[in-house]
Symmetry: C2
Subunit: 457 residues, 2 copies
């Protein structure tokens, strides 16, 4: 019997988790593993974590995947995403603070990845052009553009794993008068460097993570004033002088924004922090997930198996508190389904299982505490079924709750808080000075800071 | 016999020309015309002329087509693009200056288009996802995403006309250090409003039309300084104080650009005026034109018929002096081929014809004068074969030559020059004040200026 073939679309955190899941099986002595080809649009692995200065379209004319900006620091504690089988202690050899900058966190998450081992599965600069499924042969045909050769490549697969993310295609609403705004108008997806807004009056529209974090960045790097405009509810933090919240913009006149409370103000730039679209331009309707950003997307059994065609797997389509290890759990579960080690129930049974979770999802009261527990339980469900190493999901969930309380208490200072590892109990060290004063976010610079050991009373 | 079906991809100047060509045949009493469906990514017709404030990706997550910016004025005389069957006199009812702003020129070029008549052929917000050709049935299958319904549509066609342009997908080179440049880095494609660069030091990389025009715009709207960095040759105009040319950037350190002549300077923003890629992500290799921006693209018989598959037509793939009426000529010729009114020679004969033109193209000395004559001759070749109304191509060519001399003489003042219509002999009126002083580019504002009649000695 020929080995099965699997296409993984994307070599970001989700796609890499899927490759690692199969590698783990191989290292465990598993035989007759499928052939894997991973197609990646970018020239390197890491997906969203592969920072790029580019915006709009990349060097090959493809939409830029990255939404990360310079000076981005983790907005959640590193202890909430620590891996059981690869601790921060192991990676850094010493205790570091709980909220590291992007480059430091990337160093950790890439640290356990054997780049040589995984890269041999990956075709870089190969955006997927079109996927089709043939019911007779039960095979997918995947066509990609290989920008390295300038030619397309087509291959057939038994399974396709969609791991292209859903934080790359901006949702960009229109407000009357924007077409005449005399200055920069951008989406958070295209935000790269807060220094562009130094001494400027900036308007941010939106009230979720992008708005709160980019507002904080711009404040840190010297924006003159920042207004956050919300649709339904203010974020509600105690903002420092220079950041304020106003209700939704109604329209623009020249560089003046008018708000629904009748106030108005002139701005130099407008940034939409209005979220992202699920966008799969390479998938025909019968394979295309249509859902929204939530904790349990529709049409996905166990959050990953496409109901209409269970040979199609979607990874990482949830909104998230938990991140990398949730993706790992999904990838391990998906692997075992593709290997037949987990038997896939029939469509009706899958629907029934989804309904249980969807009902629970519907019943959530919207509080972070409930959301975190719900996502933790989803992960425990996956964890129970595979050989993924056990880790303290509930403890990490409790840390998420603590994090949200700390952020509530001090939005500009929460990154100075420290937490103990849920794996090693190692206590994080303190930043030697306030986050607002540490402006160089490079790995070298951060790791050369004199971190302060926390004295336990 | 069933009528033929034709898909036109794009409702910009090229696609609209193709629709108009068939409409003209219909109005002339031609029977058994093909069924036409035009798929357009944007929500309105006009292509590049449909100005958008958006950059990067549009509201549907599709790459933004438009590269036009606010305050753009025609950089060539309107007399060079005047239509024989729809004159400026007829449209405006009076003489206007030779170099109108975008909105005014758009008003003219859209003026002769019967929007109701053409719009019934157009499916808006329908980007093409994938096209395939089946050799047995000799039909194309075209799949589009209809963003209005959220569902895809698939249909088959006898002919496909690719009219999606080639000034939409930026060519964006990398220079060492760009990833750490602390400010805005963009491609001219994403440039919208020069006021963003008021009082700023701006670096433009490139030395073609984008660089010279955007540099002029930024100067006009108060940039502190503008440097144009060229690869091989400076543009060479007598720039005003505040604009200078330097050889190519070698690398960046922080906000400082280093040039190949050993000089350096600090900048607030960097703009790549480095041209565009031919990009057809919806076409498989066997249908995909691979060429570069020039006056006679490879693989296109008569500049329009795809050699490998002559049921595939490409419009507007040339670099251009002549614009709209060249597109018209191509569309009329393409129409007559699709109708069988012009017999398509066999592949060998087509190759021989292409070789004649390619040889001449190769032999051009690179001067604008020769280029203009070459493009004029190409147009005369097309004109001779169809019923497109005759117009003074050679006279308009001479005007192009005059325009280039005038630009050479006064890069900041050439838009104050006036020319006589090659169709009606009407002399253009003069701007009442220098171009640099007219900052409102709206149709209303421009048309309310007191244009000055040119007194002929």
């Amino acid at each position: 019997m020929l080995n099965k073939k699997i296409a993984i679309l994307g070599a970001g955190p989700s796609g890499l988790a899927q490759i690692r899941a199969f590698e783990a099986a191989r290292l465990a002595g598993k035989k007759n593993l499928p052939e894997i080809i991973c197609y990646e649009k970018q020239a390197d692995l890491g997906g969203m974590w592969n920072y790029t200065w580019r915006t709009g379209l990349d060097k090959n004319g493809e939409p830029v995947h990255g939404s990360m900006y310079r000076y981005l620091w983790s907005n959640g504690p590193k202890e909430c995403l620590e891996f059981a089988d690869y601790t921060f202690d192991e990676h850094f050899g010493r205790a570091i603070p709980s909220y590291p900058p992007r480059a430091v966190l990337k160093d950790y998450i890439m640290g356990r990845i054997d780049e040589e081992a995984v890269s041999k599965y990956i075709r870089f600069e190969c955006p997927v052009r079109w996927v089709e499924y043939d019911k007779e042969s039960e095979l997918f045909t995947v066509t990609v553009m290989n920008h390295k050769t300038g030619q397309q490549e087509t291959d057939t697969f038994d399974y396709v794993v969609v791991a292209t993310g859903h934080f790359s295609t901006p949702n960009m609403p229109y407000f009357k008068g924007l077409e005449n705004f005399p200055g920069r108008v951008l989406h958070a997806h295209d935000f790269r460097d807060a220094l562009e807004f130094k001494d400027k009056d900036v308007l941010m529209i939106g009230s979720s993570y992008s708005a709160e974090d980019i507002a904080s960045q711009c404040y840190k790097y010297g924006a003159k004033s920042i207004t956050i405009s919300y649709r339904s509810q203010p974020i509600g933090y105690e903002w420092p002088e220079g950041i304020e919240e106003r209700p939704l913009v109604t329209h623009f006149e020249g560089n003046t924004a008018h708000f629904s409370d009748g106030t108005s103000k002139a701005y130099d730039g407008v940034m939409m922090c209005t979220g992202y679209l699920f966008h799969f331009p390479f998938l025909p309707d019968d394979l295309r997930l249509q859902t929204h950003n939530c904790l349990y997307p529709e049409h996905l059994y166990k959050g990953i198996v496409f109901q209409q065609n269970p040979k199609l797997i979607y990874l990482g389509m949830h909104d998230q508190y938990f991140t990398f290890n949730k993706l790992d759990l999904q990838a391990w579960y998906a692997r075992d389904i593709m290997l037949g080690d987990i038997e896939l129930p029939n469509a009706e049974e899958r629907l029934a299982d989804m309904k249980v979770w969807q009902d629970r999802h519907q019943a959530l009261d919207g509080s972070d505490d409930q959301n975190i527990e719900f996502q933790g339980d989803y992960m425990l469900d996956l964890l129970a079924a595979t050989d993924y190493p056990e880790f303290p999901i509930k403890k990490q969930g409790e840390l998420f709750k603590q994090w949200l309380r700390d952020k509530d208490e001090d939005i500009m200072g929460f990154r100075e808080r420290t937490y103990a590892s849920t794996i090693t109990n190692t206590m994080a060290t303190e930043l030697p000075k306030p986050w607002l004063e540490i402006k160089d976010d490079s790995l070298e610079s951060f790791m050369s800071l004199d971190f302060v050991e926390v004295t336990v009373d």
